[in-house]
């Protein structure tokens, strides 16, 4: 379904702030696969998601989605196939539009928008149904501005919007990181429900070891712009938080070793 080949991305090339964020990453997802990405800060996990989503073009490599080469497609064109939920709970909704209007926008994701009434009668009742399924009591406030809702409520609605039209690929970018623990639980629960209900091909970035271990059928660990580990099947199911912590500790030691080794060499030869 998704095929990422030898993708490279460097930010601020040729300046002191140059960051080689992705160093030739390969990743392939089959249809219906739920993959969780975890990694250290600056490992390139969010960059990876944004490269697939089309927030920027990659410097080298190719991205194929559902058999089509989308490498040079702008973000809004890819959105016809991709549903996205961002880390910032305010990024996924238009604050001055009502709940109903926001959902109506998502009911035409990637489709032509003409001069038809946005909140047609049948769509309104569908929106009512879907919002009621959240059990947040929001179905009585459909005409209220979405900006008045809490981050958790907005993130839950963003999830509904991203999956209203079944996307070929769902991208979740640390979408519970900015929420309080209770809302984070609710949103992660809802994510799991929607993903398994529609058998959605999903790529989820998280910073939570707990989520990484308990969710998805495949776990990818990234470090310094590369994929370090790819746990699948039984290996993924056996994985515990302690194992992951162990892997991170290994990474940390390797880094330290690199630095001390470099320092030693410098003292000796420079």
């Amino acid at each position: 379904m998704l095929d990422v080949r030898r993708v490279q991305k460097t930010f601020n090339p040729g300046t002191p702030n140059e960051v080689r964020s992705l160093k030739g990453v390969d990743l392939a997802l089959v249809e219906g696969e739920f993959v969780v990405i975890i990694g250290t800060n600056g490992s390139g996990k969010s960059t990876m998601l944004n490269a697939v989503g089309g927030s920027f073009f990659v410097d080298a490599g190719a991205i194929h989605l559902d058999g089509r080469d989308v490498t040079r497609w702008p973000e809004h064109r890819r959105a016809g196939m991709i549903g996205r939920v961002f880390q910032n709970p305010f990024s996924g909704t238009a604050p001055n539009l009502s709940i109903a209007e926001n959902l109506a926008l998502s009911a035409r994701r990637g489709r032509r928008r003409g001069l038809g009434w946005a909140l047609r009668g049948d769509l309104r009742s569908q929106i009512h149904e879907v919002v009621r399924s959240l059990n947040m009591g929001l179905e009585t406030r459909l005409d209220n501005e979405i900006g008045n809702l809490s981050g958790g409520q907005r993130q839950a609605l963003t999830l509904l919007m991203a999956t209203w039209l079944k996307p070929k690929l769902l991208l979740l970018d640390e979408h519970t990181a900015a929420l309080d623990p209770k809302s984070a639980d609710q949103v992660i629960h809802l994510s799991g429900e929607l993903i398994s209900r529609d058998n959605l091909t999903t790529l989820m970035v998280t910073h939570s070891m707990h989520q990484a271990v308990n969710l998805g059928e495949r776990l990818i660990m990234m470090h310094r712009g590369q994929i370090l580990h790819d746990f699948r099947g039984a290996e993924k199911r056996r994985l515990r938080v302690d194992d992951l912590l162990g892997r991170f500790e290994e990474v940390r030691r390797a880094d330290l070793l690199d630095e001390t080794a470099a320092e030693m060499l410098r003292r000796k030869y420079v």
Binding site: G53, P74, E75, H76, R77, A79, G80, I82, G83, R84, F86, F90, S91, G92, T93, A94, P95, N96, L97, E101, N102, A104, L105, S106, R108, R109, G110, R111, R113, G114, L115, G116, W117, A118, L119, M161, A162
Partner: protein
């Protein structure tokens, strides 16, 4: 009385300008100074066609299309070439000054002999009233001519406001509002935010050009200088409208912009009547908008410091 009617008429005509500014400034938060060129462009195109005996409807329609083109030009400069929005508007506005001179062939075109919407409205009015020159309205003598032009401009303002409201409730219009609200979100919904800005500025400047075309027909001439200060004028109308209606719901803001434009024009007429030097008008307008822009922040600060004092 004719002063009041004149102020109301211009207020309704310029409410189209306010609606245009409402789109660029309030929906896209884009201070689009193209308006100062496109209002003149609308007047210029309408005027040159009218003196060449085109029908008022055709002349005004082409004026609107010309305005839409100039708005789209600003939008393309901003979105495709990534020029700062204010600068993009200044570039197009400056270019339009020369274009307007070329369109008119000189700096001023009088429309006294041409058949315009105003003459059409007068004809209709006198036909309905059986050819009477004036009408007794609440004890005042009102000329049929003034009254019919007022009713015509009121009808246009209401019609355009209603069409705009309906447009903003369609799929396309909703996407346009969302673009100004959260461009990242609308891209994730599969809409090109750049295209939406180009389209929005085209609609905005089409409305502004319509205001220019009607203003030229009302005042009986088109002048290359008539756009100066018009953006601030539109902003003032929008801000007054928001203060009048209070809430920022769609239907209210559209109505508010029309009401704000009329009220502002009335205030200006009264101030001029009381002896305000017309040369000071733009200074006062600018000061007014300045105060209106900083007032909400100042009030919040006062509230905060009061709350702080109460706390201590």
């Amino acid at each position: 009385m004719s002063l009041l009617i004149g102020a109301l008429t211009i207020g309704f005509i310029l409410s189209l300008l306010a609606l245009g500014v409402l789109i660029s400034f309030r929906i896209f938060a884009f201070p689009d100074i193209t308006a100062e060129g496109s209002i003149t462009l609308g007047a210029a195109v309408a005027a040159i066609l009218l003196v060449n005996a085109w029908s008022p409807l055709a002349a005004t329609t082409i004026a609107v299309l010309a305005g839409m083109t100039s708005g789209a030009a600003t939008g393309v400069l901003h979105t495709r070439f990534r020029i700062n929005g204010l600068l993009a508007g200044i570039l197009v506005m400056t270019a339009l000054y020369s274009i307007n001179l070329h369109v008119m062939g000189r700096s001023n075109i009088p429309l006294l002999k041409a058949t315009t919407f105003v003459t059409r409205a007068e004809e209709a009015g006198s036909f309905l009233l059986g050819g009477r020159e004036s009408l007794n309205l609440f004890g005042w003598d009102v000329s049929t001519r003034d009254l019919s032009v007022l009713l015509f401009s009121l009808a246009v303002a209401l019609l355009v406001g209603a069409v705009l409201y309906v447009f903003f409730r369609t799929d396309l219009g909703t996407a346009m509002r969302a673009t100004g609200d959260n461009s990242q979100m609308i891209r994730a919904m599969g809409v090109s935010d750049g295209n939406m800005i180009v389209l929005g500025l085209a609609v905005s400047n089409g409305l502004v050009a319509l205001a220019g075309a009607l203003l030229a027909q009302y005042q009986g001439f088109s002048d290359v200088q008539m756009g100066i200060g018009m953006l601030v004028w539109g902003l003032a109308s929008v801000i007054i409208g928001e203060a009048l209606v209070g809430v920022r719901q769609l239907g209210y803001t559209v109505t508010g912009a029309v009401m704000g434009s009329v009220l502002f024009r009335l205030l200006v007429a009264i101030a001029l009547r009381w002896g305000l030097d017309p040369n000071d008008l733009k200074l006062i307008t600018a000061l007014f908008v300045f105060v209106a822009l900083i007032l909400p922040g100042l009030l919040a600060k006062v509230k905060m410091s009061k709350a702080g004092a109460a706390h201590a």
